[in-house]
């Protein structure tokens, strides 16, 4: 199977109060196209940092991050932005919708950036798919948490990404809404053939993926279907 994400000897350190803090230490793995993957670990284990590096939101101190064959380490932030626009979709724990844009406009942004045509109809279709056809003209503040996450989902799929990164997608939702959102994520993912990488400490959610990568203290401690060390 083709590799969409390749991580080699990845290191990330921060300076805090004059001390060097190693957040990720020699991480190695690769992810195949179309697979579903979960990165799990306790709070502070470095999983969100790892997601940020994999998605090109940050740069590593050492090691290689290759996304769809492109080495992100050699790219400027602006070039990484264009890689993200072309290949990556995001879902965040706190939804991260632009508060001054309507639901429909939020979904349209990645497509508008690419200068594509027939954007409105396509975005409306996506809202339809997540069950918010009649909420397109509402602002995020006028939507419930579950609705906001569904808009975020529609936005994540709007640019037909090759890989979707989800950071605790159900972290801010109640159990019932979480279930609906998770179903939507997996359905849309299957339908679009997208690779899914989700960061969570919800093992039940992680169990729905093909593969679980377990991080602890900045190190990769397990990499299997069950997530056992």
């Amino acid at each position: 199977m083709e590799t969409i994400l390749n991580i080699q000897n990845l290191n990330k350190t921060y300076k805090s109060a004059g001390r060097v803090l190693t957040v990720l230490d020699d991480i190695n793995f690769s992810i195949s196209t179309g697979s579903t993957n979960a990165i799990v670990g306790p709070s502070g284990s470095g999983k969100t940092t790892l997601l940020g590096l994999c998605a090109g939101l940050d740069s590593a101190n050492a090691g290689i991050v290759e996304l769809n064959g492109i080495s992100l380490g050699n790219l400027s932030e602006d070039k990484r932005a264009q890689v993200r626009n072309q290949y990556v979709g995001f879902i965040f724990q706190n939804f991260q919708l632009l508060p001054t844009l309507t639901a429909l406009e939020n979904v349209m942004v990645p497509l508008e950036l690419r200068g594509e045509k027939n954007i409105k109809a396509r975005s409306q279709d996506l809202l339809d798919k997540v069950g918010l056809a009649d909420r397109g003209h509402h602002y995020p503040a006028q939507l419930s948490g579950g609705e906001q996450q569904r808009v975020s989902l529609a936005r994540a799929f709007s640019n037909s990404p090759k890989i979707l990164f989800a950071d605790e997608p159900t972290g801010n939702l109640d159990a019932e809404t979480s279930e609906k959102v998770v179903k939507l994520i997996f359905d849309l993912n299957r339908e679009a053939g997208t690779t899914l990488v989700l960061v969570t400490h919800d093992l039940e959610l992680a169990a729905k993926t093909h593969r679980i990568i377990r991080i602890k203290g900045g190190k990769l401690v397990a990499d299997d279907k069950t997530g056992n060390e």
Binding site: F90, F92, L98, V109
Partner: protein, 850 residues
């Protein structure tokens, strides 16, 4: 494998759309930010419109300002050669002798020093002598009639057909004079004009040797004449005779130049209002961008490039700046209708109040440049916002000092302030001083805030109550407003307080001491033969003769061997040409007076016969003539050449009312030269003054009297009017300062919402949050106002010393009031802004801020 298109073109249409979308929930806030430039732009548009209208009006009315095609004037009796010349010029000609003299209103025995103008001929050829009745302007020349200035008529309750006595001759008042060419309301207040026919001047007995008479000749050409060419031809002869010329063109230039000075001063005050507004814009946009970090990070996640994110907000600020500028231009156009009313007493022309589109466009352009330029510093930091903020909001500073673009923006701001102040002040030195002054004020305030942040942390004691600890901790915790509020409130206070202190000093200059031993009446033009009699008469009236000073008129022919012609040819000599054209009034004495101090050389009180004459030069005269101790002067004392040298340089306190001189001779040289005398006395009341003046005028009609009480009244009125203009213009700065204060404090509200809500959720009472907020703003307001006041005291001291050359003192009471008002205003606005948070349930606010 697909390839990424890294060279995606910027889609401006989308950027505009995003700018509009992003502004949706912030428009009222953005308008508040930008409202701080509205008054500054308004003030400048008003002043520019006023300036352009004046230029047009001067061009249209220049002929009426001078009243003739050509005027020649000088204060020497014209010699035969010059007489021949004056008789050969023009198709129509008039002449005038003017001088200061006392007049007596026969009916009520009132006396007053006036400017007598003895006129012959059809002058003015352009415009009229505006009189009541109308025909009096020309009819007065037919007999022993006079035209008397309207303020004088009012002051002495005189009517047409009453009599006045000028010297030995009585004239009937033919009409009251409303306006003569080139005359302003203020000038007629200081030296009111009385016109009499020239043919009766001799009879008055005032045109004697020693009288200071100005001879003027007015010419009109029936056909178009190349006046400039004519001037070129006759100028050397006029120059030699010590006469000046004035044409419609030169009057245009001179009047335009003097109004340029006035409008420069006003524009500078307007510019200060605008700069204050800029501080408001910069601080507001800084906080606005900080609040936008999350949105920008989301956009960056979606693939928006740094430059695109920057452009989205640049478009937003430009749009809102345009709205602010248009509003400012509209306001300026309205204010401009008021300026001629405020300034009419200073103007010799009728000012039109039409809309000046050039000024409107300039104002809009300036507003746009300013709002973008001052917003650029916070805007460039958008480029440093990481998309990682979507995952984990970083408290890292996005404003990196190392960013070269940031330094470029700072340089552009400095360049803009320097260039714009140069345009207002007309001097690079002045512009540099102004810019450096502002930069220093900015640095002092930033340093104060920085120190406050560092030291508050150390000062807070654990024994303090929670409210005090929390209130003070707000000054240094992350997302604090300390630097921005200190700089904006401090700069506003500094500007407002400097204007106020300077205004107080200027007005304070007029309130001169009139103590027993201070002279408040000056008698001059006393002939040597009258010297003793006038002194006796003064004592007979029960008044003290405080001093009697001889005065001799003279000119300077050479400075260190260089003549006026040499100075004209060689500008490196650094001698002002005025040194040679000026007619000096000098005195001789053997000692210094109490208002003089030797700063270089030594005082010589007695001249040695047969040797070069040692003279003492006043400091500023020495500067103009570029002379130092030991330098040579060739003095022309009424035709007799006297070689002299500078033996000392004196500093003179010109503010003290006494007879002060630019050049002082020692005794033993000028005793026999033609001279007149000045006598200084002190009159205790207006009644004594009026009685004394009547007696002097009746016995010595040639003696003129300056009643300082009267002059003080006129000056007081003049300064009131100037003060009004200053207050009117400072009003813009004050309003802007308050808007900046409101917007600075208001924007900080958004920073405090989250934690106030959390505190309320955790059980803090409204009263506690109120007290925490009040303490934070009280400390910020007090410290900023105090620093601003210290800066204002420093800058006003520098201005007083180097610009206005006047003694400095600070009236602490109004300064204290400014301090209290600014501090309270900060606290009140801060509390008013927090009211919304205090009155609503925490959940409602939490939901609305999701």
């Amino acid at each position: 494998m697909e390839t990424v298109n890294y060279n995606r073109k910027i889609n401006f249409g989308w950027l505009f759309r995003m700018a509009i979308r992003d502004s949706r929930r912030n428009r009222s806030r953005l308008l508040l930010f930008i409202s701080s430039i509205v008054f500054g732009i308004g003030a400048l548009v008003a002043i520019y419109s006023f300036r352009y209208n004046i230029q047009n009006d001067i061009n249209d009315q220049a002929a009426e300002l001078i009243g003739a095609d050509l005027t020649i004037s000088g204060n020497k009796t014209p010699d035969a050669k010059l007489k021949a010349l004056t008789n050969s010029l023009g198709d129509q000609r008039s002449q005038e002798r003017s001088f200061a003299s006392m007049i007596l209103f026969v009916k009520n025995k009132g006396t007053r020093l006036v400017q007598v103008r003895a006129l012959e001929g059809g002058f003015p050829y352009y415009g009229t002598l505006e009189t009541v009745p109308l025909q009096a302007g020309s009819a007065f020349k037919k007999g022993k009639y006079a035209l008397v200035d309207k303020t004088l008529m009012m002051q002495f309750n005189a009517k047409v057909n009453d009599s006045i006595k000028v010297g030995n001759t009585t004239f009937i008042i033919a009409g009251l004079l409303n306006k003569a060419p080139g005359q302003t309301g203020i000038s007629s207040g200081i030296a009111p004009v009385v016109y009499i026919p020239l043919k009766y001047l001799e009879q008055t007995g005032l045109a004697k040797i020693g009288s200071r008479i100005t001879y003027s000749y007015f010419y009109k050409y029936n056909r178009k004449q190349n006046i400039a060419k004519l001037i070129k031809k006759i100028d050397p002869q006029l120059d030699k005779a010590g006469f000046n010329y004035d044409t419609i063109e030169t009057r245009k230039e001179n009047t335009g130049r003097s109004f340029a000075d006035l409008s420069r001063f006003l524009s500078l005050v307007g510019f200060i209002a605008l700069l204050l507004g800029c501080v408001g814009v910069a601080s507001a946009i800084n906080i606005y961008i900080r609040e936008k970090i999350q949105s920008i990070a989301i956009m960056r996640c979606m693939g928006v490039k740094a430059s695109e994110a920057f452009l989205i907000y640049l478009i937003q600020i430009t749009g809102i700046g345009l709205i602010g500028s248009v509003a400012g231009a509209l306001l300026g156009t309205v204010i401009q209708q008021l300026l001629p009313l405020v300034l009419k007493d200073f103007l010799p022309i009728t000012i039109s109040a039409g809309i000046s589109w050039l000024a409107v466009w300039q104002g809009i352009l300036l507003g746009l440049i300013i709002s973008v330029l001052f917003a650029l510093s916070p805007l460039v930091s958008i480029r440093n916002i990481s998309p990682l903020n979507t995952l984990r909001l970083s408290v890292d500073d996005i404003t990196t000092i190392k960013d070269p673009l940031r330094w470029l923006v700072y340089s552009l701001v400095l360049l803009f302030i320097t260039s714009f102040s140069y345009l207002q002040l007309g001097s690079w030195m002045g512009a540099a001083v102004f810019t450096v002054g502002i930069a220093i004020a900015f640095l002092i305030l930033t340093a104060t805030a920085w120190l406050l942040i560092r030291f508050t942390r150390l000062l807070i004691m654990s024994s303090w109550s929670y409210i005090w600890r929390q209130g003070f901790a707000n000054l240094y915790r992350p997302n604090n407003q300390t630097i921005i509020l200190t700089v904006s409130i401090g700069l506003s206070t500094a500007f407002i307080c400097t204007l106020f202190l300077i205004q107080q000093l200027l007005i304070g200059q007029v309130t001169l001491s009139t103590g027993e031993n201070q002279s408040n009446m000056i008698l001059f033009d006393i002939q040597t033969s009258q010297k003793k009699a006038v002194a006796d008469l003064t004592r007979k009236q029960g008044l003290r003769v405080l001093s009697q000073v001889p005065i001799i008129t003279m000119r300077i022919d050479k400075v260190n061997g260089k003549t006026a012609a040499d100075v004209k040819k060689d500008t490196t000599l650094r001698i002002s040409p005025r040194v040679f054209t000026y007619e000096y009034r000098v005195t001789y004495r053997d000692s210094l007076t109490s208002s003089e101090k030797i700063i270089s050389g030594s005082w010589i009180g007695k001249a040695e016969p047969g040797k070069e004459i040692p003279v003492s030069a006043e400091e500023r005269f020495a500067e103009r003539a570029n002379v130092k101790v030991g330098d040579k002067l060739l003095l022309n004392v009424q035709g007799i050449m006297m070689p002299a040298y500078v033996s000392s340089i004196r500093k003179v306190n010109w503010n003290k009312i006494s007879t002060n001189f630019q050049i002082v001779f020692p005794t033993g040289v000028l005793e026999d030269a033609p001279q007149f005398n000045v006598l200084l006395t002190h009159v205790p009341s207006n009644t004594v003054s009026a009685k004394f003046q009547q007696v002097v005028v009746q016995q010595f009609p040639n003696v003129s009297i300056i009643d300082l009480g009267l002059i003080l009244n006129v000056l007081d009125e003049l300064f009131n009017k100037i003060g009004y203009v200053i207050k009117f213009m400072s009003g813009f700065s004050i309003i802007t300062g308050i808007i900046v204060l409101i917007s600075s404090v208001r924007i900080s509200k958004y920073q405090r919402i989250q934690e106030s809500v959390l505190l309320r959720t955790l059980g803090a009472s409204r009263k506690q949050i109120f007290a925490i907020t009040a303490l934070e703003y009280l400390f910020l307001g007090a410290l900023s106002a105090l620093t601003g006041i210290v800066i204002a005291i420093g800058s006003s001291w520098l201005l007083a010393k180097y610009n206005f050359d006047m003694p400095y003192n600070v009236n602490l009471l109004p300064v204290g009031i400014i301090f209290i008002v600014i501090t309270l205003l900060t606290v009140i606005i801060g509390l008013l802004n927090s009211r919304g948070i205090l009155n609503k349930p925490p959940l409602e606010i939490l939901r609305s801020n999701t």
